[in-house]
Symmetry: C2
Subunit: 646 residues, 2 copies
Amino acid sequence: MNPVVKPLPLSGMRITDRFFAPRIDLVRTQMLPYQWEALNDLLEDTEPSHCIENFRLAAGISRGEYHGMVFQDSDLYKWLEAVAYQLSVTPDPALREAADSAIRLIVQAQAPDGYLNTYYQTHPEEKRFSNLQNNHELYCAGHLIEAAVAFARNVGDTRLLSVACRFADLIDRTFGPEEGKLHGYPGHEIIEMALVRLFRQTGEKRYLMLARYFIDRRGQAPLYFEEEARRDGNRSFIWNETYMRYQYYQAGKPVREQTAAEGHAVRAMYLYSGMADVSAETDDPSLLEACRALFDNMASRRMYITGAIGSTHIGEAFTYDYDLPNDAVYGETCAQIGLCFFARRMLNAQMDGRYADVLERALYNSVLSGMSLDAKRFFYVNPLEVVPEACEKDDRLRHVKPRRQKWFSCACCPPNLARLLGSLPSYAFSAGDDTLYMHLFISGDVCAALAHTEVRLSVESEYPWDGRIRLAVHTPGQYGIAVRIPGWCRGYELKVNGESVPSEPVSGYIELNRLWRENDIVGLDLEMPVLLMRANPAVREDAGKLCVVRGPLVYCLEEADNGSGLHLLRLPLNTVFEVRDEPQLLGGIRTIRCRAFRESRSFAEGQLYAPACRADETAETQLTFIPYFAWANRAPGEMAVWIREI
Amino acid sequence: MNPVVKPLPLSGMRITDRFFAPRIDLVRTQMLPYQWEALNDLLEDTEPSHCIENFRLAAGISRGEYHGMVFQDSDLYKWLEAVAYQLSVTPDPALREAADSAIRLIVQAQAPDGYLNTYYQTHPEEKRFSNLQNNHELYCAGHLIEAAVAFARNVGDTRLLSVACRFADLIDRTFGPEEGKLHGYPGHEIIEMALVRLFRQTGEKRYLMLARYFIDRRGQAPLYFEEEARRDGNRSFIWNETYMRYQYYQAGKPVREQTAAEGHAVRAMYLYSGMADVSAETDDPSLLEACRALFDNMASRRMYITGAIGSTHIGEAFTYDYDLPNDAVYGETCAQIGLCFFARRMLNAQMDGRYADVLERALYNSVLSGMSLDAKRFFYVNPLEVVPEACEKDDRLRHVKPRRQKWFSCACCPPNLARLLGSLPSYAFSAGDDTLYMHLFISGDVCAALAHTEVRLSVESEYPWDGRIRLAVHTPGQYGIAVRIPGWCRGYELKVNGESVPSEPVSGYIELNRLWRENDIVGLDLEMPVLLMRANPAVREDAGKLCVVRGPLVYCLEEADNGSGLHLLRLPLNTVFEVRDEPQLLGGIRTIRCRAFRESRSFAEGQLYAPACRADETAETQLTFIPYFAWANRAPGEMAVWIREI
């Protein structure tokens, strides 16, 4: 069974959004060319990636040794996927040519039997598929497939698809329930959702069945990874000493018995996305139910207010309910991107605004914070509280950086950002049989295929700065337009052609099903006051603290605006906020200012502890909050999202 | 030059203190016999120590392989030192016999040339003194010397002293400035202070000069450890990737240029103690000045309110100024014991109550917390905030335990506790030429040799529960008695024979120099109200929090008395405290009760963040605080020292 509701294809929307369009342009004009240079070891001040060179080795064009991570291939595949999205929207001969050379190289590198992994091809002494838990062959295959489908679908170039199918066929001959096949599954998931995509592109059901096999087999006793580790004296099982153990890979128990988001956060998101995909294509309610439980656990107990996930750097992983340290957080950019993947799938499986709320929260905050405003520097880790001295001197916080990096030896996040930003239309809209769903308020021109109608409309707004959204209908006829009322919104007005439409959202959406005329205008006005948020009292790290939000944006304090010692600032609950449009600041943002207090207790020189004789001494002060996504674009300094309440 | 002021020898005081005497008894009747069994691998439910067996291997009595840490020998030496202290006070034939067999074994194990280290003696393929930074030969030698001097001085048994001198002579032939000698120094300090002790015991100046050499050479360019690491391709330099690097060993720069307490906290304390010793014996003001700067940095910026030191488990080390996380703290019991060593030496070098304040703070809080009330279980790490679930599930807190352990594979802390508790007289009193100094208020009968007088007196108090202290003078004559006025004390009265003596403390001491008559009574009444303390505003972790103290004791909340969710409790500054004597609770303590508030905010099921519409909702509640040293003697649960202020 195919799902009734499908995300909009990229070709279905031309994005004109004043917030996102420049960022997408930066992906094309800055990020992707920069990454291409990185992949080709042309950057002078960063460690060489060796990614392209590894493919040249595998293709027999170069001689030398493999370098880089064991999953280095995936960097090129992710780059190619992102390029495919860009080329589908904007012609770019230079990118097209670069991609073309990359594809030709990949075609050359593929082994005659279809196998393709430059690490193993340059290490013939190591046995293929012998260390699934660590060595990422199936992960790289998954990214190859994703890139291949993206190129076939969006650029009409099927050379990579042929490569991907040949490799997928080999994997299908290698893995499966039949005797003589390996009964394993990937240590790092992604091939599950990639295979579903390949099935959708090619119609070949074997790919779907293989995805289902990987998911169903995962965590079944006897544990495949345990057997694998036993063969090499447990050397490959590097998570033995942690609390997670096999749940690091989400492989400690069958997926349908997993009820809490556990282990490596990116892997978890990719697995859950694959589960949602397989559930959608095979009509498997038990799998969807597992996805729902996992999503609920994560969104209600293990997610930062910025949408960041992964509370610890140990295993880049989830920890336990309500454990959300702001300074030691991991919050890998890729994990939040994976969360967008997962949320989008859940949204299309079950049209519920909760999923879109989480998607929007992650996208506008802890995904976008992963890149600098000029798209040239990146965060791997997205903390909610930073003291630069701590990052420098506290080895427990070594993973937290007060400034973005140019590139990483494990360069997963930058191309993942490019993939996500290049495919925003599929997150903004979904098409049902008779209804077009608007999830995100991104301006642009939409052309969506419902079951019997091709619907064209355009969206115009200043989101996320303003809650005034206008849809202009271009296709007359009887069909539904469902608009999301965000979970953060406490008051809104919906109008058609200026006339109020009184209605309550159902599961976060108001559906207007009517006979539309050309140039009908749907007006949605979302109230967007500044709000002070509290965390659930079970979140120890946020006890007694408040967070400033406005609309979908989480705000933070930076030292650049507020001086150092942010932990001494205290917000009164009744403070009055002023929202100020600052087109010149940080690429054009709205700041939030308010009155607050700064503790000014005087301690004698050298005094570490002293009796508390008086109530807190405080001095009034003025604070300036900026959107979280825009932090760390000035001189490095302190940053804080959660501020003490007075 | 010998220092003018010396700590009281053990023979100079019979402790009758109702707080400490039972604990010292437990050391003799419980800890030392238990540790003897541990050293002999006779405990059933703990990993074998193999310590004695290693000596048997080295002595050629047994055959087999060395097991245990590379510094396993030190466990036996520390045990012997603690036994010596006990035997000097209380005859104990069983302990004496056990010690005797241990000493005979050590004599047998010593190599003909005087070398003694069972690891190297059982690994003849490894070269002696070739890996000073990691392999602890000089550390074990230091503990051997300490035990040897303790036995010679306190028991009159000099067999171990002969062993120690022969080994010290070999070390002296091996290390030193002369060409052909090694220009190195220990990776783990202690031999410096041990050699000074050996010099004091034997009068042999070479030992003092060797101690001075180790200290003066340390951290001089070119770095010895750097050269050592270079020889084995940096394999031995395991702290390369940390912020500390060679300062992990306090060996990154010359000791006189070190101004901040850095690196492994136990090593730091042992080094600084040795520096203070060498400074005292060589009249080296630059060395004393370095000690003072290091002490000041530590006590005013890097010490917990419990006296715990070492903010991170990475390297069991100091981090940076004001970084004092309550949950992730290390606070190794041995580090606080080392702090007592250091503080005592500073106190005798410069009679200043600041040193005694720190000594007392550590002793009554984060040293004593290292052992259970029955002296059968031990903490390595002494946290100020514990949530058992976090200790179990957060791999970053794996070093923090919510309950004490029976024994450790690295069993340094239990015998160190036994050493310290067995030598309390030397911490309680010092003797100057004409003045007896009372630092700690420990009841007992004292006999101290001043320059021209042997002074006898007795002390009686219910300290730390009560501030009423009485000294009865038994030796008539003209001399001084200096009593410490603790830094925590805000009001006191000093009387002689019931008559007030108006006086102000000088550097924390009031000296009464007069013609004493027999049975003169000095009465010191220290006000001991419950105080709420704040940390310096620069301590981010304690912002907005209060700590309850009374006299020298830091108090804490335990789940057993106050339920779970301690982070939701809030203390009003004006709360009224009730001190309650509870002889049946936790071995007899005084609890502190007060009115406080518990946040009772209601969050919808599944809601992780919500707008803060109202001020905090709180419900009045009653809290019961217990002394920090007594925590974790009931069912495991939450514990907190710092409580949020309302």
